[in-house]
């Protein structure tokens, strides 16, 4: 084959601007950089929070102050200076009476993201809780959901309107002491989403939140709390894109899911934070703690497509506490250029007849490092537990790394655990076959990679799957060589 496709094409594409990189200029209200008790009191006061929540934050801060940043993950990065971060930023204009009041520039941002509210309202039936720089500015479909008793609002609103629910569940799945970033988040979380599905209610639409980091130097500390009451069902979508920035941005979110008896939660994420440029400059640090607890007969299913961030540290997990509960984790993680990802899951089997499935597809391109790290733990009392794990790694270049670190801990003789992993290079014979059918190399790789990830992509809601497929192809452009 001639020189062009291999080398020049790769170069052409390396320089391609970050697809969704753009910045919205909205006046923001920021507090000075740094973290201490006064800052936490200020955040809490600005949000008019009850005393118990301030106590929660202050205790978290105390715990965090005594912790050290973990370094066991297979990632290397310059540790953030936590005193150089501003812990609160809110668009000055906080609430909009009607859609017309919304800042036109923000509307433009949403248009670029392809999530114009009108269109969404009209076409897809997706309710959107749009979070820009920590404070919710637009929520839709609230009334319709309210008819069913579904609460879907910003975390701050939930604190004001449903304090009893927040108080009952906050920190019950991810305790403040859990890890460094979870403790930090518990101290300074700005806003996020809250969702409650009442008993026996099947949420009729996909609930969706689009996150965006917007303010330079602003850490993003989202807090999500989702409670599915007995025998209810909800599918929740979370997607992120971020504007291009030169400096590193810290993102330390906490997501807690509570799936009560017989409930089912599907939680899908497409993560496309700014990954840094081709030299590894800039990009988001994504240190996320996501965990759900399953009560009797309930299900939590995590699906994630991770293509962004300079550094990812993320293990959406399930505590299978109730008998006959099910945990699922479906993941595609793509790393290119200098990205580093250490991601996977923890399936903690405590109840009897609990089942878990893990399917992880890692794709390493450029000079990136991509690790799967997963724990399957079968407790002494978890009779008849089942786990199936398949984790595959695909290497696109000889400069990238693909790693697998499974932890399998079994204390019960009735468990059946199966773990399989493979690592291989993208099939040259497959590419050739496509080429012979007239499909060019870029498209061939897109096809093959999407095929390789199909088992995971299939788990996404339809509209998300399309976006995810596009993202995969974009993320890997010019990556073979």
């Amino acid at each position: 084959m001639a020189e062009y496709t291999e080398n020049e094409l790769a170069k052409d594409l390396e320089n391609k601007e970050y697809e969704y990189g753009f910045t919205t200029n909205i006046e923001s209200e920021k507090i000075p950089n740094g973290l201490n008790e006064d800052v936490i009191r200020m955040i809490s006061a600005k949000k008019n929070e009850p005393e118990w929540l301030l106590e929660f934050r202050l205790k978290s801060f105390q715990i965090w102050s005594e912790m050290v940043e973990p370094d066991w993950a297979h990632v290397k990065y310059e540790k953030p200076d936590f005193q150089a971060i501003s812990y609160y930023a809110a668009p000055k204009k906080q609430k909009y009476e009607s859609w017309d009041d919304v800042d036109p520039e923000m509307k433009e941002t949403m248009n670029k993201l392809g999530i114009s509210l009108e269109e969404q309202k009209r076409l897809t039936g997706v309710a959107v809780d749009f979070v820009m720089d920590s404070v919710s500015v637009a929520t839709s479909f609230k009334e319709k959901l309210a008819e069913l008793g579904i609460i879907f609002c910003s975390f701050s609103e939930a604190v004001q309107d449903h304090p009893e629910l927040v108080k009952k569940y906050l920190g019950t799945v991810v305790p403040q002491t859990d890890n460094f970033y979870a403790a930090l988040n518990s101290a300074v979380f700005s806003d996020g989403s809250f969702c409650y599905i009442p008993k026996g209610v099947r949420c009729p639409m996909e609930l969706s939140t689009y996150f965006r980091i917007n303010e330079a130097g602003t850490g993003q500390f989202e807090r999500t709390l989702l409670i599915a009451d007995e025998d209810s069902y909800v599918s929740y979508l979370e997607g992120c894109t971020a504007p291009q920035r030169d400096e590193n941005q810290l993102h330390a979110a906490v997501v807690e899911l509570i799936s009560l008896d017989g409930a089912e939660i599907k939680y899908s994420t497409v993560q496309n934070w700014f990954p840094g440029d081709k030299d590894g400059k800039g990009g988001v640090f994504n240190f996320v703690t996501k965990r759900g607890i399953c009560h009797t007969g309930s299900t939590i299913s995590w699906t994630q497509v991770e293509t962004g961030s300079a550094v990812t540290w993320k293990y959406p997990s399930c505590i299978l506490k109730g008998d006959n509960s099910t945990g699922e984790f479906y993941s595609v993680a793509v790393t290119n250029n200098h990205q580093m990802a250490d991601t996977g899951t923890k399936m903690i089997h405590l109840g009897k007849n609990t089942k878990s499935t893990i399917i992880s597809k890692g794709i390493s391109a450029g000079e990136s490092e991509n690790s799967y790290r997963g724990l399957v733990k079968i407790d002494r009392k978890a009779d008849n537990a089942r786990n199936f794990t398949q984790c595959d790694s695909l290497l696109m270049t000889d400069r990238s790394g693909a790693h697998t670190f499974p932890y399998i801990e079994c204390e019960n003789p009735t468990a059946q655990l199966e773990h399989e992993a493979t690592t291989s290079k993208i099939g040259e014979d497959q590419i050739f076959y496509c080429l012979q059918r007239g499909i060019d190399e870029e498209k061939a790789i897109g096809l093959i990679v999407n095929g390789y990830c199909k088992d995971v992509l299939n788990k996404l809601p339809m509209e998300f799957a399309v976006e995810a497929q596009k993202l995969l192809t974009i993320s890997l452009e010019g990556s073979v060589g």
């Binding site: 297979h74 932890y407 079994c410 773990h419």
Partner: protein, 410 residues
């Protein structure tokens, strides 16, 4: 727990590496479960004991241990060679001084993992062996019996095995114990496989309860060489095997296989590290375990394919059966890949005996105990089958059957 406290009764040897090792150990603590490579192994039950360097009188009858066709025989008692019980015509240098220059104070390939126990061995070893295999056609056969007489005996032994170009070596190591009380065997092996050579090391760990066994095998391979290590582990309260092999030349082949059986509160831990530092190489790991009683089995297989080590095939398999409600298995098969033209895979399966098969056998009039034995044996058979000769397979089963009650032996 400090190492200094643990070694307070021990006399360091006077080799250069021994002195350096002893000084490196000063102020060091034993690893804890917070250390990644000791995550599943608590050392307290070993380190709380006081051990002393002991004499080399022993009373065990070794006649049932010797494999007849192995004309080269060595007996090492509490870390010291018993010349009267040994006979051989291989090129063997003995004594601490013989190994000076052959090993360093920290030559572990997987640094940080088993360093402390290797260093204890190097600092406090009372004897050492350097065995040169330089045959060009026939395979040299060597059997080494390690006896620990307990009564607080610590046995630190250093063994260097060199296979020169085209040489073939097969070594069987039997670990046995006698006496009463606690005993600790801490053996350090350094394998050096020159071009196109072949080293086979078969470890039969069958000490009694009350003993502790830590073994570090560090091997380096040159072009077209082959190293195979087998760990058959049962007995002892705690067994930790570290096998670290680095492939330095093209066309290397490495096999590390093992089976382990635990009862009561036994703890058996295999840590295998294969470092693919050259191109066109292969590695294979097969470990199978059966855990009974309150025992714990640990498998940590780590494969690294270095940058530019293209065309590597690496395969790891760990399968476990839990027979009892209080048994535990921890399996951690890791892959770290920095080259793209590779085929690497691993599998880990944990379960119980096939209930249908058990029922079928019982329905044919076979007792439950007998049926279990048949199923366990057939499960472990795959590991035994990786041994090179039928005669050796039979021998290994005959030696392990006293420890692994559930192993079938006609």
């Amino acid at each position: 727990m400090s190492v200094t406290e643990f070694v307070k009764n021990l006399q360091a040897n006077n080799s250069a590496f021994g002195k350096k090792s002893a000084s490196l150990l000063e102020g060091k603590d034993f690893p804890t479960t917070r250390d990644e490579y000791w995550k599943y192994t608590r050392l307290r039950k070993l380190t709380k004991n006081e051990f002393t360097q002991s004499g080399k009188d022993f009373s065990s009858d070794l006649s049932g241990v010797w494999k007849e066709d192995y004309s080269n025989r060595l007996v090492i008692v509490n870390g010291k060679i018993d010349e009267s019980a040994s006979k051989y015509d291989l090129s063997i240098s003995k004594g601490i001084q013989s190994i000076e220059g052959e090993i360093k104070e920290n030559d572990n390939i997987n640094a940080g993992d088993d360093q402390i126990f290797s260093m204890i061995s190097k600092a406090y070893a009372e004897d050492a062996l350097v065995i040169d295999f330089n045959n060009q056609k026939e395979r040299d056969l060597l059997q080494i019996v390690f006896v620990n007489t307990r009564n607080s005996a610590i046995a630190n032994t250093l063994i260097k095995i060199k296979a020169s170009k085209n040489a073939n070596a097969r070594i069987i190591c039997n670990y046995i114990s006698e006496g009463a009380g606690v005993g600790f065997t801490n053996t350090y092996f350094n394998l050096e496989a020159d071009e196109n050579s072949n080293i086979e090391l078969v470890n039969l760990q069958a000490e009694e309860a009350g003993t502790f066994h830590i073994q570090s095998v560090n091997g380096t391979q040159e072009k077209d060489s082959k190293i195979s290590v087998w760990n058959f582990s049962s007995g002892a309260d705690l067994i930790r095997n570290n096998v670290n092999i680095r492939q330095n030349g093209k066309g290397c082949d490495t096999h590390v296989n093992g089976m382990y059986y635990g009862e009561e509160k036994q703890h058996i831990d295999n840590h295998i590290f294969i470092d693919h530092a050259s191109e066109d190489c292969e590695s294979n790991e097969l470990f199978k375990g059966v855990m009974n009683g309150q025992s714990t089995g640990v498998f940590n297989g780590r494969v690294i394919v270095r940058k530019d080590s293209q065309r590597i095939n690496a395969y790891q398999q760990n399968s476990n059966i839990l027979l009892s409600e209080k048994a535990t298995i921890n399996s951690k098969p890791e892959l770290e890949i920095y080259a793209d033209d590779v085929k690497c895979s691993h599998g880990s399966v944990t379960g119980q005996l096939d209930a249908k098969a058990l029922f079928y056998l019982k329905a044919r009039g076979i007792s439950e105990e007998r049926a279990k034995k048949m199923l366990v044996s057939s499960f472990l058979e795959e590991v035994i089958e990786t041994l090179p000769e039928d005669e050796l397979k039979n021998y290994v089963v005959s030696q392990m059957v006293s420890r692994i009650q559930l192993l079938d032996h006609e």
